[in-house]
Symmetry: C2
Subunit: 157 residues, 2 copies
């Protein structure tokens, strides 16, 4: 078990490694459970051609795969920068217990990563968002919901 500062140093080291490789933005993250690092990641958006490959997502996915679970109760997320709304939402879906971060959202915006625009969009009522959206075939989708509710294979998460 190390101090939070030691884990954060490691998250920042991963960010630097990603920068040295040219894999994407300057961000690194760790998942820690009971004092052990169970997931590591750095931003790989460019190398993986994957807009979802933020450091926190990579670290969360590695942790759940390694632990064989789809929730990370009792785990801490260390990230070298305040999570964007995608990563923060993923932390909620993963049931992360605490987040440590180093740089702030404003620091990221200052170098061109404008998470704030997404945050503002999400805060708007859905009909006021800029991304055009249209609803279709709701009843057909509800039939699949009903099939899931009845399914013996259902595993709520």
């Amino acid at each position: 078990m190390s101090a939070p500062e030691e884990y954060m140093h490691e998250a920042i080291r991963l960010a630097a490694e990603g920068v040295a490789r040219g894999d994407g933005g300057p961000f690194g993250a760790l998942v820690v459970k009971d004092g052990e690092i169970v997931g590591r990641g750095w931003n790989r958006v460019v190398t993986d051609q994957d807009p979802t490959a933020h450091a926190e997502m990579v670290a969360i996915r590695e942790a759940t795969r390694r632990l064989g679970v789809w929730h990370l109760e009792g785990c801490e997320l260390y990230t070298s920068c305040e999570p964007c709304p995608m990563c923060l939402s993923a932390a909620y879906w993963a049931h992360i217990g605490r987040i440590y971060y180093a740089a702030s959202e404003a620091d990221a915006a200052a170098i061109g990563f404008d998470d704030g625009a997404i945050r503002e969009e999400l805060a708007r009522p859905s009909e006021a968002r800029h991304l055009p959206r249209q609803q279709l075939l709701r009843q057909q989708a509800l039939k699949v919901f009903a099939a899931w509710v009845q399914s013996p294979l259902k595993r709520p998460y």
Copy 2:
């Protein structure tokens, strides 16, 4: 080039396939570019033990990998249910141009998928959120930001 309803039928069919396999929640999604389906996904949270493996994320990742890009300008996302905040944020990061959805967030909540709680958390000022958070070592992270800004390998996205 098919009508939007035909693509949505396919997204709903993928949702049903995921339910039949027991892979996760009853959700399917497609990415369409110039009338061609370039990414498909259904929810695989349970099977992949991956809390980020929502249908839209799987479809976006397949589309960018297949097209060899990390943005999906001009693409449409078809999803059998209104995207959660994680998936909606990913759609913004991916530069998706339009979203079609079938079931609503309220429909998902009615069968136990409470995206609304995450949406409410994100809407709160960061200091008022329930997930505990703490800032550490900001200056060290900013050094890595500076290294990225100077890097010849930098590829803004």
